[in-house]
């Protein structure tokens, strides 16, 4: 074994990772089995008196409960996802009131926390089971390419506010962590199918089971076919899309070790006027965690992800002048990532966590005359390390301080420190406060972009583009007033520097360059409450207020006068009711009001009007294994805009109704 590791040259990096993971797997599984069998029988034979003398290590207690963290966090549970009737991840994210979610067309969404939800929204870190899914092309997320069998999602953690110290670059305004269920909890057969006016048809299935007494698996597949949306004038938007996805997950659990191996493969295609666009991708991930003793745990994770984009673009025309012909832009992004994290207790009062990470991203763009990235082939290295210490000053007061240190190919070293204080007033009330610094390091669009590729270039990235930075001040209060009422609130003030601007050079007007000429501040409030009115009735309410003040640095220039990086509602209200009716019927409703957006992706400032919308789902469990549901979305209007400049081609979100049948065995 040793000689293979030393002498084999790995030309194919994926092969390299896979070989080593196999080794880890074998070592972990073989050495434990014998000891385990013996201890089971030994323990069973022992007297109660002796059992109480056995040395135990607490591994099933979660080190930190999310509801107890000093940040603004909301959790979307599997139950929430199921009962809302949503059919995609971005729709599910509407359930977190601390996010702004806007549907741009049938297959694109803008999702953001604490503002900056523009066409190129880029200040959110999104992960699925620890795998980063925002694209290094522009630091945003292709939401139509992020999917899963929704019934197998365990929960989604939504953190508004910076998370750079633990998670690193891009966790500027928030972190979304989508976590799928352990395969131990999906050891059965599940199938769903349905259709309606928004989603013409869809189907999904999963088969799970036990491999042996401590290993379980599942495999799944799904497809969906989505109808066109409409334009503001009621015409067809020609943006229908289809997707298929499949994947697997295997988990091995030993008393002190957990090993996960999982992967997905997907393909989607979307209609658009210049032709069909597609995204294909696949990923594999493995995670091993080992508990040494109470509160001490080591995690090692590695993944590979490939995203292949084909996007037809129309000819690039400005003022009836054709600058570049139409073409199909293609891009293949390969990401290799390894992360190590170690958490342990130290001198009773300290809970230390430190980690190391490396991400290797290789991008291969097929440039076309209308759009190019230079260089077309680009390799990016991200090295990172972090350390954080939580010190318990008393039973009730904890101070957490730490920093991340990263080195990226574009800008070199970046640091992202934070200090958090938490005061548990009593078991039901908690106050917290934090100061953190986070960065958004440049993405390819900021540095390497060119539109069109040659000739009269209109807009370009610039080699001097640096990281955008935020210094965030936050405070919050969380209370469980009684068994029925849970509420939380957070206030924040964010100070931004070096935000992206579109500038001109001193000597020429064109091309325009991306520079860092904007600065500014935002502040706001997030309120959230859950009220269990009766065993059978739960109500939730959420409200966010956001005020944004960006300006151009004195003496600098921005083409859109600091209006191009934001398109956000100042107010947003969300209400949900979850009713348990007799005869195994569940009735759920969600009402949302979203304030007007000010948008600037056109020739001058314009708005998306404020809107109110209602979603209702009725579900009936016909038998233990069969459930029928009917979901209506956007019921109050035939169609309404949620995003974009009011051109004749702005796409609206439509009212839609979907029926679904679920079968479990």
């Amino acid at each position: 074994m040793k000689s293979i590791l030393q002498h084999q040259t790995f030309h194919d990096p994926w092969h390299c990772i896979f070989m080593r993971l196999c080794c880890v797997f074998l070592i972990v599984s073989s050495s434990r089995a014998v000891a385990l069998e013996a201890s089971l029988n030994d323990l069973k034979k022992m007297s109660i008196e002796d059992l109480l003398q056995v040395e135990v290590v607490s591994v099933s207690r979660t080190p930190e409960k999310l509801s107890n963290t000093a940040s603004s966090v909301q959790v979307i549970t599997q139950e929430d996802i199921r009962r809302s009737g949503v059919t995609s991840l971005p729709e599910a994210l509407r359930l977190a009131s601390n996010l702004q979610v806007a549907q741009k067309n049938a297959h694109d969404w803008g999702v953001s926390a604490r503002g900056f939800n523009t066409e190129l929204a880029n200040k959110l870190l999104v992960m699925i089971d620890g795998r980063t899914v925002y694209t290094p092309l522009f630091s945003g997320v292709f939401w139509n390419a992020q999917d899963y069998l929704l019934a197998d999602i365990d929960h989604i953690e939504v953190i508004s506010g910076p998370g750079g110290t633990l998670w690193g670059a891009n966790a500027v305004n928030g972190v979304i962590n989508i976590i799928t269920r352990h395969s131990r909890d999906t050891r059965d057969v599940y199938a769903e199918a349905g259709g309606g006016s928004g989603m013409r048809s869809f189907a999904g299935a999963r088969v799970g089971g036990a491999l042996n007494s401590n290993a379980s698996f599942r495999v799944y597949a799904k497809y969906s076919d989505h109808d066109n949306s409409v334009l503001g004038n009621g015409n067809d938007a020609n943006d229908a899309w289809r997707m298929k996805q499949g994947g697997f997950r295997v988990d091995v659990t030993h008393p002190f070790d957990r090993l996960t191996f999982q992967g997905d493969i997907y393909e989607n295609s979307s209609d658009s006027d210049p032709g069909k666009a597609s995204i294909k991708g696949s990923n594999v991930l493995t995670r091993w965690s080992h508990a040494f003793s109470e509160g001490s745990e080591l995690n090692l994770q590695a993944y590979y992800d490939r995203t292949h984009l084909d996007r037809p673009l129309p000819a690039y025309v400005i003022n009836n002048l054709t600058l570049a012909p139409a073409g199909v832009f293609a891009d293949v992004m390969d990401t290799y990532d390894v992360d190590l994290q170690h958490r342990f207790r130290f001198m009773r009062r300290h809970q230390l966590v430190w980690g190391l990470g490396y991400r290797h991203t290789h991008d291969s763009a097929t440039n076309i005359p209308a759009l190019a990235f230079y260089p077309a082939l680009f390799t990016h290295h991200l090295y990172s390390g972090f350390i954080q210490d939580a010190v318990s000053l008393s039973d009730r007061v904890t101070i957490t301080a730490g920093t991340k240190l990263e080195h990226n190919t574009y800008t070199g070293w970046e640091w992202e420190p934070s200090v958090r204080a938490q005061w548990d007033v009593n078991t039901r009330n908690m106050l917290w406060s934090a100061i953190s610094r986070a960065v958004r390091s440049p993405s390819r669009i900021d540095r390497d972009y060119s539109q069109p590729a040659a000739g009269l270039v209109v807009i370009k990235g610039s080699d001097t583009f640096v990281s955008e930075k935020v210094l965030a001040y936050e405070a919050g209060y969380r209370t469980q007033m009684n068994d029925r009422l849970v509420a939380s609130t957070a206030i924040f003030y964010n100070n931004y520097q070096h935000l992206r601007s579109t500038s001109i050079t001193p000597t020429t007007i064109l091309p325009l360059y991306f520079e860092n000429n904007l600065k500014g501040y935002t502040y706001g409030i997030e309120l959230n409450g859950t009220f269990q009115i009766a065993e059978w009735w739960q109500m939730r309410a959420g409200y966010t207020f956001l005020s944004e003040h960006l300006s151009v640095e004195p003496g600098k220039f921005d083409l859109s006068q600091a209006h191009n990086e934001t398109a956000d509602p100042q107010h947003q209200v969300m209400l949900r009711s979850m009713l348990e009716l007799p005869g195994r019927v569940q009735l759920d409703a969600g009402l949302r009001w979203v304030d007007e957006l000010i948008v600037n992706n056109g020739p001058n400032l314009a708005t998306v009007p404020d809107y109110t919308e209602l979603d209702i789902r009725i579900g009936w469990r016909i038998t233990e294994s069969l459930e029928l549901s009917l979901t209506g979305q956007n019921l109050l209007h035939n169609h309404h805009p949620e995003f974009g400049f009011p051109t004749p081609t702005r796409v609206d979100a439509e009212r839609n109704v979907t029926g679904k049948l679920v079968w479990r065995l």
Binding site: I27, K65, Q480
Partner: protein
Amino acid sequence: MAPIRVLLRYGLLLCFFACRTSHATADYQLEAVFLFNFTQFVEWPSSAFARDDSPLSICVLGEDPFGNYLDDIVRGENAGHHPLIVERHRNADTIGHCHILFFSQSEAESFRRVLQGIKSNNVLTVGGFQGFANNGGIIRFHIVDNKLRLRVNLNAAHDARLTISSKLLRQAELIGYGED
């Protein structure tokens, strides 16, 4: 690719160490053994069973910490004439027939409500939360200095009409209501 190699090699090394760590027992293993022992040291009223040979249900409510460990322990075992079975429940609607109800850590927010709903139903409630016995739970698991401790609420056991053997009680810390 050099850093990947270094990290992975480091990971392998750690595993070699990790795989030789102490022979201590994980908390959930010991708790599973205790759940089995409870079936031997607790007596349910005969009305709690449909027939003399109907099964005794050990139910896990919420996220299951045991994996297959609990199943392995009770496989082929009986309590008197009652064969032991393990069930897992995602929510509290379906736990009516359980004889032992173990609350997993995921139920920290809801255990008080569930406990109130099942008072005096012949259910031996077991959990590891602070205040579990105080809130009407019957047996609380409690880890002190890396040893498992049992805390038993006698009043709650009495309300549930369960008889707990003195062999078990002798090793436990006994309380009534309001003393946890």
